[in-house]
Symmetry: C2
Subunit: 266 residues, 2 copies
């Protein structure tokens, strides 16, 4: 990477634990690729010290912004000055831009990263029918992004139906024209199927949906990156479906984060 | 430099302005040379926001410590938890180590850097008679370090004599056996002559001492790094003196700072 000087713009990722984060590697590669004089460093912050840490970090005049990950995505919403409509409706953000006057503007790009990841592999979402398993953090971000990307309809399936209903209501608040249904474990009859639960991360996890109902015409998408080849994706391929791994979501997020943070080639 | 990951230890330099600082380049080179997984970044902090910024930064669990420069060297003394005797007597620090529990320990290495710089060019100070021009920040640090390095005597010369007297008194508080005199602009009769004023940085500055009194047996030392070849050093060489440039002080400071911050090869 480029030499760090007094003129280098600073960025950080807030996380706890911190060791596993990959954003420093990816973002610093991105900066090098576009020739931008910036550096992103890990910032290991405990949840109970987030408020005072942010109060200090926002004073740094050469700070461009912060990436936010577990466990801080929800808590930053009370600590920022402005937030995008989507971040507000989701109640979580994964990026904070520091404005020149020190204000922090929050945005949630997890879902947009997922959509751009699909586009990067040639899959447009406009007009498609979509099935979303889950109603937690990732599902919230992706649900909003699918609707924003113009899906014809969105079916939300979650073990706890009340959480699916709540997500539906919040999406309709922002996009009143959206067609949103509450689904069952059966994903059949949708063109795009997305697992946004964490089921599949651990060996022996139950499947996130009824894979016997997958159809060869479907595109089956995973948010899980580790393992790359989840039981869901294996079953989907066996049934002749196209599949989308979790990794492109992260790769596209880096670009989106950089754009939101005002990072440009120079 | 090495790739930054979630496991990389973080260091920063607090300054305002920030663009001109060279510590990021030097320290990151040092980390690379010894194979240490650390990164030092610029932190642009205004004086009136130093306290709240430090309160936030000290929460960063992967922060190893902070280098401190203009205008924060004095102010950090009220914001740290512990300080070395020398830093306390000088009333200023240029490095803060973050202890594992978040406490900040302050130390002043400007003077030790100067002494180690002299050693690195083969000049021992023990037993020598020393003349110090100035009684400001740099002179304070160097005055203490000269006595600590075992000079036979130290003569302090400053336009405002009361500041020289004050420095003398504070050195004697910590080193009651030291032989310290208040001097005049005449540096003759000392083996080592040090300019620790800022005179010589700007074109047209008056000389920091009476150079007509320099003697060929003397070693004449400069703290000014820019320009490298000050009017004092030019005059000293014309009179046959050995000279010491300002740069080795900074190079040796990097090593001293790294040692104080607990940076080791790994």
């Amino acid at each position: 990477m480029k030499e760090i000087t007094g003129a280098t713009k600073l960025f950080g990722i807030l996380a706890d634990p911190i060791h596993h984060v990959k954003t420093p590697q990816r973002m610093n590669e991105h900066f090098a690729r576009i020739g931008y004089d910036g550096v992103l460093v890990p910032l290991h912050v405990r949840a109970d010290e987030l408020a005072s840490t942010l109060a200090g970090l926002r004073n740094l005049r050469n700070l461009g912004g912060l990436i936010v990950t577990v466990p801080h995505k929800t808590a930053v919403m009370d600590l920022c000055d402005e937030a995008s409509d989507v971040a507000r409706k989701i109640g979580a953000a994964n990026v904070l831009r520091r404005e020149p006057d020190g204000r922090l503007t929050a945005h949630m790009l997890d879902g947009e990263g997922f959509v751009r990841g699909l586009r990067s592999t040639g899959n447009e979402l406009a007009g498609k029918t979509a099935y979303l398993a889950g109603a937690g953090g990732a599902a919230n971000a992706i649900g909003f992004a699918l609707v924003q990307a113009g899906v014809a309809s969105l079916t939300i399936a979650n073990r706890t139906a009340a959480k699916a209903e709540d997500l539906k209501a919040r999406i309709l608040d922002l996009f009143p024209q959206a067609r949103i249904h509450i689904g069952t474990p059966d994903p059949s009859g949708h063109e795009v199927v997305v697992n946004a639960t964490s089921l599949g991360m651990k060996e022996g996890d139950p499947l996130p949906m009824d894979v016997s109902r997958l159809e060869a015409t479907q595109l089956v998408c995973e948010v899980i990156m580790q393992p790359e080849n989840t039981a869901l994706l294996q079953a989907a391929r066996q049934r002749g479906c196209k599949v989308q791994y979790g990794a492109p979501m992260l790769a596209c997020q880096i670009e989106l984060m950089a754009e939101f943070l005002g990072v440009g080639a120079k």
